[in-house]
Amino acid sequence: MALTLYRQALNRALDEELANDEKVVIIGEEVAEYNGAYKVTEGLWNKWGDKRVVDTPISEAGFIGMGIGASMLGVRPVMELMFFSFAYVALDQMINNAACVRYMSGGLINCPIVIRGPANGGTNVGATHSHTTENIFANVPGLKVVAPSTALDAYGLMKSAIRDNDPVYVMENTLLYGDPLAASDLPDNEITVPIGTAEVKREGSDVSLIAHGRCVIVALEAAKELEDKHGIKAEVVDLRSIRPLDEETILKSVAKTNRAVLVDESKPFCGISSQIATMIQEKAFDDLDAPIKRVTSIDAPAIYSPPVEKEQIPNVSRVVDMVQSLG
């Protein structure tokens, strides 16, 4: 059976949810007639027409805020940010309004909105287009943040996100859209992946590699190399959902392996791995046989230079080296 690419899986999820609920509308820059800057929405405008798949001008604060306002009236917008880096021009809407309006109204309002798009570096587009924004948004109570690493999770999490009644920000990855390593065998029937559940992507007994998004693929490659070349059995835990967070699966893995290396494309200061490290330290201190270590991006704005950027973000050799350094 042919594997489904990450991009195609997202497309299928969007298509199915457009069919399932007439309140679902896709809105964003180039999502309709252009078929999506990264082709995630390819064919949807042709199939569903102007009402359900809507092109916007380059105007993130305006159209993201518009989607949030519409969601208060029961519309279920799925908004594309061409890059999640562009969220920074819409932050007032995404944080002050989407995340806080429920609270400030004492629970009278909810915003069933999805904001999705790629949030990654590694594509040689310089610092402004390479932000990993998940830690910014996961810091905000009222928001949910997911970061799928495979086509199956992208499909299932996107469907859950659209059906969820809170704002869910879906962090995708341009490098995964067409990556055969992230492709999956999707079932013919509709399924969902629940938000708030991690998954062990590879079993192991010696060390837990804890990651989300594309770093899961990196961790899986590293685990293969660790086993093949060094006889180290690494377990790979895929967070999938960052907020809410499945702490149980993480703690269970650490209890089993007694070692944790966190692989996280975030910048190190208050990145996702900072939160995970704190949690393990607080709740599994006695399980640890070694300090928790992190492989994050090297702490500078994303460099352009293509071969050097590969070294700035977590890669297989950096993960292998870090695991070996645990002794």
Binding site: P57, L108, G142
Partner: protein, 358 residues
């Protein structure tokens, strides 16, 4: 001051007003008086240290919220900025729930979680109460988008101050409003000052702020904000445009606030003269103007006005008692009303850790 003295009531016979009954006209006055007495009471107890944060008072501008809200039907929605008490009472929220919110009490309209700047009543089509200048302007656009998407014939009235017109999100909203032909009405309540900076020191414009609409091809109008007849007439035209043509409008109403930007505005009498404030109060006060109008039309007399005023003062005083006697939220309430799915106890809300303080 751009206002002319109101003496002609030239919009009395306008279609927006021709069918107003005497009772309707009295009700408009009652609403304005209630807003003023409510805010005077809130000022007193703010100064007595009973409230936290800011208190942005609407006193002097009541005719705009009351006049516009009085035209709203089942599918017309309102959203505003932080000077939101007047609109709240105008759409029918009670003094009790509003005063209790100011006191930070659990019985407040937002359970003590929003405060002065964040009053909401979605059941009355009132969507707040927003603290960031112009942050509500894309949301108002979204309400209009929702109306159009859902096939409802309605309008979204998005109120804002004159200080909001220079924010980017407002201009983005204007572009989208016309591009998508959305039934949104941006209502600029121009009280002359964005906090302590006068209009001429903050905005570049030709003739008036609303005229910037020309750049987007949006219909616009400017009017006196202290004459309810005129407010209703201009608003009705905009609502008709929204309902019948699904087109946006920018309306600018000239008005004036008597208090500072907020009560904490220590310079409120430095960036403008006390004479300027007194001049407005004496000549243009919206309650006085409307009262005089109803006197001249023989609809009310001094005695019935006094009775109305006494009732409003008592209602405000009672709301203070209600607020004072109400409980504060519990510590355990802090993490409620954050996530819908958690509050509702759904399967989605039970999966994974949502809160990280422990």
């Amino acid at each position: 001051m751009m206002l002319d003295k109101v003496d002609s009531y030239q919009f009395k016979e306008h279609s927006a007003n021709a069918d107003l009954s005497n009772e309707d006209k009295i009700e408009l006055l009652r609403k304005m008086v209630r807003i003023r007495r409510f805010e005077e009471a809130s000022l007193k107890y703010y100064n007595a240290g009973k409230m936290g944060g800011f208190l942005h008072l609407y006193i002097g501008q009541e005719s705009i919220a009351v006049g516009t809200a009085s035209l709203c039907g089942q599918n017309d929605h309102l959203i505003t900025a932080y000077r939101d008490h007047g609109h709240a009472l105008a759409v029918g929220m009670t003094m009790n729930e509003c005063m209790a919110e100011l006191f930070g009490k659990k019985t407040g309209c937002s359970k003590g979680k929003g405060g002065s700047m964040h009053f909401f009543a979605p059941d009355k089509n009132y969507w707040g109460g927003h603290g960031i200048v112009a942050g509500q302007t894309p949301l108002g656009l979204g309400l209009a988008y929702g109306l159009k998407y859902n096939g409802d014939k309605g309008a979204a009235l998005c109120f804002m101050g004159d200080g909001a017109v220079n924010q980017g999100s407002y201009h983005e909203s204007l572009n989208l409003a016309q591009l998508f032909e959305l039934p949104v009405i941006y209502i600029i309540e121009n009280n002359g000052y964005s906090m302590g900076t006068s209009q001429k020191r903050s905005s570049a414009f030709n003739n008036c702020l609303a005229q910037r609409a020309d750049a987007y091809g949006i219909a616009w109008d400017v009017a006196k904000g202290n004459d309810i007849y005129e407010v209703r007439a201009k608003t009705k035209e905009a609502i008709d445009r929204a309902h019948n043509e699904s087109q946006p409008t920018i309306l600018e109403f000239d008005t004036y606030r008597y208090q500072g930007h907020s009560v904490a505005d220590a310079n409120s009498k430095k960036y403008r003269s006390p004479e300027e404030i007194d001049h407005y109060k004496e000549n243009y006060d919206p309650i006085s103007v409307w009262k005089k109008c109803l006197f001249s039309e023989g609809i009310i007399d001094e005695d019935s006005y006094k009775q109305m005023d006494t009732e409003a003062k008592k209602e405000a005083k009672d709301s203070v008692t209600f607020a004072e006697e109400s409980p504060f939220p519990e510590i355990s309430d802090i993490t409620e009303d954050v996530y819908y799915e958690v509050d509702e106890g759904t399967e989605s809300g039970k999966r994974g850790k949502h809160f990280f303080h422990n």
